[in-house]
Amino acid sequence: MPPLTPTVFHILLALADGERHGYAIMKQAEADSDGRVKMGPGTLYGSLKRMLDAGLVEECGPRIDADDERRVYYRIAPAGRAALAAEIQRYRSVAALVGGRALFRVPA
C-alpha cells in the first residue's frame, strides 16, 4: 500500500473514532497535529473527493445538527481503516528502526 499524504492521513485519523462533518474533520486534524496540518474547505473537500473515489471514506448523508444546521457527515470505510493501519505500522517500523540504531540521542 503506498504511503499516505499528511492530509489524507489526518483525515482518516480524524474519522477513525467516529463520523464527522467537514468542519469537525478540519478541527480534529489541526488538534491531532498540534496545529501543523491546517486545511481550508478547498483542501479538505479536494482530498475527500479523491478519498471517496478511492473507497477510503464514505458519505453518511446530511443530518440536522443541534444548532439546526444541515451538515454532510463522513465515515471511514474498511479500505480506509486498512490504509490507516498500514500507515501507522509504517511509522512504527521507522520509529523502531531509529530507536534500534540510536540515531538520535536525547541530550543529557
Binding site: Y23, P41, G42
Partner: protein, 183 residues
C-alpha cells in the same frame, strides 16, 4: 462573507458544486462563526481561505476536464485568463501605485534584467485574452453566457496598453536611440 464565498465556489466544475458546494459553504460558515465567537482576527483568515479555495477551484477544473473542454467552459476559461493576466496586473499595480518595497524591487530587477521583466507578463496577456474571448467566439449564438469573459477581455486589453507603451518606449530608448543609461 458567506455570499462572497458562495460566488467563489462558482469557479468549481458544475458537478463538483452540486456535490460539495453546500458542505464547503457550511464549513466556511462554521469557521467564520467560531472565529467571531472567539474574537480572533478575520482579515488574514479570510485572505487565506479565499486563496486556498481559488487554488482548489483551479486544480479541480484542471483535473475535471481536458484542455479543449476547459477553454470552452466560460467560467473555467475566465479563471484561466485571470490567472494568466495576474502577473501583468500585479506589475502594473505595483509600478502605478508605487507600492513599496515591491516598487523598489521591481526597479532593481528592471535595471538588472531589463525588458524581460516587462516582456514575460506582457506575453501572457494575449494568451489570457485568447482564453477569455474563446467561449464567446465558440458559442456565438449564446454569447450572453460569456459576458463576464468579454468584460475580462476588455480589462486585459486596458492592461496591455500601458505595458505595451512602456515596453515600446524602453525598446526605442535602448535599441534604436542606444541611450547609454540602458546598459
Amino acid at each position: 462573507m458567506s455570499r462572497a464565498y458562495a460566488w467563489l465556489l462558482r469557479f468549481y466544475p458544475a458537478a463538483w458544486r452540486r456535490r460539495f458546494g453546500a458542505p464547503m459553504r457550511q464549513a466556511f460558515d462554521d469557521m467564520c462563526r467560531e472565529r467571531r465567537r472567539e474574537g480572533r482576527p478575520m482579515a488574514g483568515f479570510l485572505a487565506w481561505t479565499f486563496a486556498e479555495t481559488a487554488f482548489g477551484a483551479g486544480r479541480e477544473q484542471l483535473r475535471s476536464v481536458e484542455m479543449r473542454n476547459l477553454v470552452a467552459d466560460p467560467r473555467a476559461a475566465l479563471l484561466l485568463a485571470l490567472l494568466l493576466a495576474l502577473p501583468g496586473a500585479l506589475l502594473l499595480s505595483v509600478a502605478w501605485l508605487e507600492i513599496e518595497p515591491l516598487n523598489g524591487l521591481l526597479a532593481t530587477a528592471f535595471r538588472g534584467a531589463g525588458l524581460v521583466v516587462l516582456i514575460v507578463p506582457l506575453a501572457l496577456l494575449p494568451v489570457a485574452l485568447g482564453f477569455s474571448l474563446w467561449p464567446a467566439l465558440r458559442r456565438r449564438a449564446d454569447w450572453r453566457g460569456a459576458l463576464p469573459n468579454l468584460a475580462a477581455a476588455c480589462a486585459i486589453l486596458l492592461l496591455m496598453a500601458p505595458l505595451l507603451y512602456v515596453a515600446a518606449e524602453e525598446f526605442v530608448n535602448c535599441k534604436v536611440r542606444a541611450i547609454s543609461k540602458c546598459d
